[in-house]
């Protein structure tokens, strides 16, 4: 008798396991169940459906050849059964059976398995404030949600929306609401930055600036107290209070609330069956993607696996991981030995006309994992600077101070594919624990329309190398701006007279200009400046357009015995990216 494989969940991982398994084993008996009627969709495409990039909901569950991925498709084209509107209630491991409920007729039954795959995904979190279950409060996790959100907006029912949470989905939804529909949108986020799981504060600020530029109202460090409204009229407003509780609560009037406060792995079923669940509430799996019961596999958003940089367990709700893991599970069910060793946390997002990507750990995550992170921030054109459509890209590279191991990379810029190219080139190396010099010499492909001869990725490596070996002493842009606002510090601008003149004029006490080419003749003057004008306990801050010239000056001054300087990382370019112009 053919082996029975039962798969719980038919969105991303489930169908992938089934399709692959059918291809490599024509005889195995495959059944996929899902409590929903709409299955096998690209959930990550929902914001683009709402925002109009994808015109029809069907686009999200159709193949490239325009076949709808429904029960009939999987039956006739892919050769396995999908039972929709069937919910798994309990796994009886001893009997190798799953108790299920047929939702349409509310009957229960049991399904047998030899091998079971848990692909139950994740559920949007409903934070414990009042009103999160009111009408007009939407989560974004399946096509029904997508459809009702878009219907409400396209019916003209939504003039103002509040998005709770500034993770990827919150940002993508805010873009969708604003860009196509002109909905007045406010994002409320508890953390003091957007994308706290993905980006450091500096790179996040670039995203925040983009959101502001495009009319999204962003409220950081704010906690939602309640959503006001009633069952008849639905949500009417959101009450928030700043995290520090200093100001009285604010009320945001709205016609729609999007709850995008993260997701929680659906691990209850596994947990109730005695399978091990990890610190992030995901189902723990080994490298074969088996749970603590070797006959039961898990993968996708409900599973927990190793972060290959931190060594800690993590969850990563991403369709791409689900697909790759699905293939591995199918191979292994069929007797293969494919391994999923873990994730380096590669991530990308489009924010209006800007692309953002990261891999590995942020500085905070690196600290939490016991590293001592140092980083470089580089601003550079994303193609040869003489090429017409060259534009600024920002890149941050993070390494451990002592071991020089590369820990993470973040980038942002207007040409999203080019941003992705840089991050994806560093990502494969992260699990090997490579030294920063690997990034200095990373052999990215070069041609003027696509890269610089000394590409930003190499320069991020070089800058970090300079920082690690002590030749570059840099100040974080935030720290610099903070000090600058307080006044009293001295800034030496080594750009041209023309470029620096407005700064010198506006900040006569702080801003001094000596163009790079005059520095070597004016060393004594700088020496005097530091001795007499720079406040005790502070360095002389060196700044240029993006950082390399001021670095060069720093090294030069150092050789002249002037060591009390600090280089503004990423130069004025980075300031402009995260702050309003200083002049």
């Amino acid at each position: 008798m053919a082996e029975k494989v039962l798969i719980i969940g038919a969105v991303a991982l489930g169908p992938k396991v089934a399709c692959r398994l059918r291809r490599i084993n024509p005889d195995v008996d495959i059944t996929v169940i899902d409590r929903d009627s709409l299955i096998s969709y690209g959930g990550c495409g929902i914001p683009y459906y709402v925002g109009g990039d994808v015109a029809e909901l069907e686009g999200l569950y159709s193949t490239i050849a325009h076949a709808k991925r429904d029960v009939a498709f999987f039956k006739h084209v892919k050769g396995f059964n999908v039972l929709t509107r069937v919910e798994a209630l309990e796994i009886k491991r001893a009997e190798k059976r799953v108790v299920v409920r047929y939702l349409d007729d509310e009957k229960d039954g049991e399904l047998e398995y030899d091998k079971l795959v848990i692909a139950t995904g994740a559920t949007p979190m409903r934070p414990p404030f009042a009103g999160s279950d009111l009408p007009k409060v939407h989560v974004v996790s399946n096509l029904h949600h997508a459809s009702s959100i878009k219907k409400a907006i396209s019916n003209g029912e939504v003039e103002r929306a509040v998005v709770i949470g500034a993770g990827a989905i919150g940002i993508e939804m805010a873009e969708a609401l604003t860009d196509l529909w002109g909905v007045e949108t406010t994002i409320v986020e508890m953390a003091d930055q957007v994308l706290p799981q993905a980006l450091g504060k500096d790179m996040a600020r670039i995203v925040e600036k983009k959101l502001a530029d495009r009319g999204v109202n962003l409220l950081l460090s704010q906690r939602v107290m309640r959503i006001n409204g009633d069952m008849e009229n639905g949500a009417q407003s959101v009450e928030i209070v700043d995290q520090f509780g200093k100001n009285p609560p604010t009320t945001l009037e709205c016609d729609m609330v999007i709850l995008a406060a993260g997701v929680r792995p659906n691990s209850e079923l596994a947990s109730a069956a005695g399978l091990a669940v990890g610190r992030n509430r995901g189902i723990l799996v080994n490298k074969m993607m088996q749970t603590t019961d070797p006959n039961i596999y898990a993968g996708g958003d409900c599973a927990e696996f190793t972060n290959l940089v931190s060594g800690l367990d993590c969850v990563m709700p991403l369709g791409s991981l689900a697909n790759r893991q699905g293939r591995i599970i199918a191979t292994n069910i069929n007797g293969g030995n494919e391994q999923f060793t873990g994730s380096v946390g590669s991530f990308c997002i489009k924010v209006f006309d800007m692309g953002v990507a990261k891999a590995g750990l942020t500085v905070n995550q690196a600290k939490a994992a016991g590293f001592d992170p140092l980083y470089s921030v580089v601003a550079q054109s994303d193609r040869a600077h003489f090429f017409p459509d060259a534009d600024f890209m920002f890149m941050k590279l993070i390494a451990d101070r002592k071991t020089r191991r590369v820990l993470g990379v973040e980038a942002a810029g207007p040409q999203g594919d080019a941003v992705k190219a840089r991050v994806d080139a560093v990502a494969p190396l992260l699990k090997f624990g490579v030294d920063v010099s690997e990034i200095c010499n990373l052999e990215v492909s070069y041609s003027p329309p696509y890269a610089s001869a000394m590409d930003i990725v190499n320069n991020a490596g070089n800058t970090l190398d300079n920082t690690l070996n002590g030749s570059l002493k840099a100040v974080d842009t935030f720290e610099f701006l903070e000090l600058f606002k307080q006044g009293n510090i001295k800034v030496l601008d080594v750009r041209s007279h023309i470029q620096s003149a407005p700064f010198v004029e506006k900040y006569p006490n702080e801003w001094i200009n000596i163009p790079q080419e005059e520095i070597s003749q004016r060393v004594d003057e700088i020496s005097e400046l530091i001795k007499n004008k720079v406040p005790t306990g502070y360095p002389l801050y060196l700044i240029c357009g993006t950082g390399p010239r001021s670095y060069e000056i720093q090294v030069f001054l150092n050789s002249k015995g002037i060591t009390n300087t600090s280089n503004v990382q990423g130069g004025y370019g980075m300031i402009l990216a995260i702050h309003e112009p200083l002049v």
Copy 2:
């Protein structure tokens, strides 16, 4: 007394070594010499200057802050001396002196060194046919060439041009001539494909089709016999003959000839001084970038180093390599220990509105290096297929049959940065000798605007994995087209009736349609077909839009005992990319 560092060559590597060395060592005495007056330019930008993307020649030798990189700039801003119009004649290693000629006053002299850096670059090859030294015959290697080519064109002197050589520079120049200036341009290439060093024949054909579509006349497998003309009028025509000598020579009338037949490392100076030169005539260097004389370093286009995939010595005339090597040389001259271990041959090029990239070895290069290469060809959208600007990308992945080691990757598509992203993500792994499964699971970042959940790079890995393990039996598109032209073979098209109808109608003897969803019901029919209609010695060719559905059918039929099938790699999408439409 300060150590003296002498650098021969002031284009890419030379200035890089000098700048970096000055930064890390303020005391060392640095002199750079160059026989030219124009220095430190982006030579790879010349086609974009000719083609108008870069408006002014100065753009190619200016910094991003618009400073001209000339002698004064290096003196005052970078802190070292550049002597232009000074040619190195001889290296007296025993005395640590270089004999030089001051070209302007034709006097000779000697310069001392403690450490010498040879950065003499490469020279365009002048093949041994008559007329290559006539006026109007141009090479493309320095700014004087760039200027005279652009001047002639913009003066309206050029209606027809012949480009000799279909390497990167030949193609870029052909684009420049055609796209902006409307010059009727013919490329003559000895090999039977463009970019023979970079691409396999299939991916090259995609480039060839693009060139043809944009009006570039491409003549492959043609040898130049002579360039006709005289010293007064310059080149008037190019006489060519097909490589097989079957047809009489042809004459191509023209007003300009661009010689782009490759470059030769300038290693004579090194060679005359007794330094070892490699099989490609490049100066041999160790991982510290030292020549066989430890006091003499070499790098850039004149140096020869290890290809990290083949293990063979190679030359790679690329500004990006020169820059990375330059940094290493400077560090090592200063007592550091940075290593350049070699190159995986990363390369990219823009061809009109298409991007092409590669890393590692082509199939032919892999064979030459002793591997037994197998490959996959995948056609897939470069972002989520439901995303509006998704477009087709083509990717080829090559591995060794026995060891499964990944050997090379090639890709092409309309969104060049996205093409680069895929190739640059695979490239860093090549030197580690990874198994194909690393590409199946490569953690490229995912978001619908930038990638598919199962991205093309993963699918290229999966397809190759299927090929290696024998579940996918594929036919090369060229081989298929050749057989199809001969007639007699049978093609089973598993696309929809609507899609396949025109093919069935036009090729009633060859083309059969059974849509994928009907296959399982019509197994007997297929069995009969193979028994009675498919010619002996041939398989039944399975085709769909891009390959995955026909692969699925192949696996299914296999499970039904029907094993005599072959899958057309990349499907009809790949045929369209390299061939005129079949219907």
